[in-house]
Symmetry: C2
Subunit: 213 residues, 2 copies
DNA sequence: CCTACCGATCGGTAGG
DNA sequence: CCTACCGATCGGTAGG
């Protein structure tokens, strides 16, 4: 790939175009329901032409999962890593995470929410990679909570694993409530729950950080 | 239905036997992945023989959903309605709910968790019935919270909708963490989160109720 | 990247 | 409740 072409926006490779459509389809019907024929029609090429890019359905699914992970990195993790460690970074990453899920609400919702329950009972490479990504994300949050504690933003009684559990719970519930029962304020409820949990465990310094945002 | 046959365990109609197997299969592969041919083999009858009981795949899916709802009623709602209204009943229903999900953990997890994300993007009769059941369940919890407030078990500042959101969140997260990332103490974490939320909003009377359980 | 095809399986039907 | 079958679609391949 020639560098001058590579980085120009709007000038994406066929593979990237396919994966972009695949991610959008998977939000709505899952990664297993994703059919090569239907995907090919959507992209505007032949089934065999599309298939040649991946070699198997499982490789297509893995590539789609990777594409979604990459978007998540760009939109949630990378921006937060420019913010100060501890509670500021934690607060920002959770806020961006909720915002990303909310913005995907009309398109079928958060990709990872859509495929989690689909693969928890299907052993294989896709499940394995999904589990790994999920664990890494939980660890990221938990490490940042521990750091916020060390820096005196959260009180010493804070249990990082329990707080991670609760924070992640609100995100899950926001997706469920918004996508299934159509609760309009689901993401606002999640933001309120997160803030209230942070506030209850914040030191004076931590409260000042939260108040400033 | 004659009473002497009806209530004998082990004496179930073919339809009930089929639906029992269907619920177990749907926990693992979902209601859409449920195939009539595979289900028939599992039950030990011919595809057409099984099909005749339902007339269409959608009717089979709806009947499976109803069967799961009926189990939920028997194991969670009905028992709780024998307990005193307000916080005691609320506490018991949530405890039984978590216990039921935990007991299903090795079998593919909570039926409703497994099919929620599958149908939030698939319009139709199944989604409609799932949405209705979910709303009724949320309303049940919210009403009981409101009642616990009226009876002086929870403080006046309690927001029933927000508390319902958070309680339901812990259940969702317990399922996700246990089934996908294999977190062993996920259901214990959910119980702790629920208890801690109740305790923070309990009056002196409410705290006494919680301490007694 | 394409057309044309493979066997397997899908939901569903005919006829008994 | 069965066997036998329908057209459509599935993932995947051959050959160019």
């Amino acid at each position: 790939m020639s560098p001058k072409v590579k980085s120009e926006p709007g000038n994406v490779s066929p593979r990237e175009r396919i994966l972009g459509v695949a991610v959008e389809m998977a939000r709505q019907i899952g990664l297993e329901g994703l059919s090569i024929g239907v995907l090919a029609k959507e992209v505007g090429m032949s089934k065999a032409g599309l298939f040649a890019h991946f070699g198997s359905k499982e490789e297509l699914q893995l590539a789609t999962l990777e594409a979604a992970q990459s978007v998540f990195m760009q939109r949630v993790i990378i921006p937060a890593e420019k913010t100060e460690r501890g509670l500021p970074r934690l607060h920002q990453v959770i806020t961006d995470w909720i915002a990303m899920a909310e913005s995907a609400c009309d398109k079928g919702g958060c990709f990872f929410y859509s495929v989690s329950a689909e693969f928890d009972g299907r052993p294989g490479a896709i499940r394995d990679r999904l589990v790994l990504a999920s664990k890494q994300w939980l660890d990221w949050i938990q490490r940042q909570i521990a750091l916020a504690k060390e820096r005196g933003h959260l009180i010493a009684e804070t249990d990082p694993e329990q707080l991670t559990f609760e924070i992640h719970a609100y995100e899950q519930q926001a997706n469920w409530a918004a996508l299934l029962v159509g609760q309009k304020d689901a993401y606002a409820r999640a933001r309120e729950a997160v803030r209230s949990r942070f506030y209850a465990l914040a030191t004076e310094q931590g409260k000042a950080i939260l108040d400033a945002r």
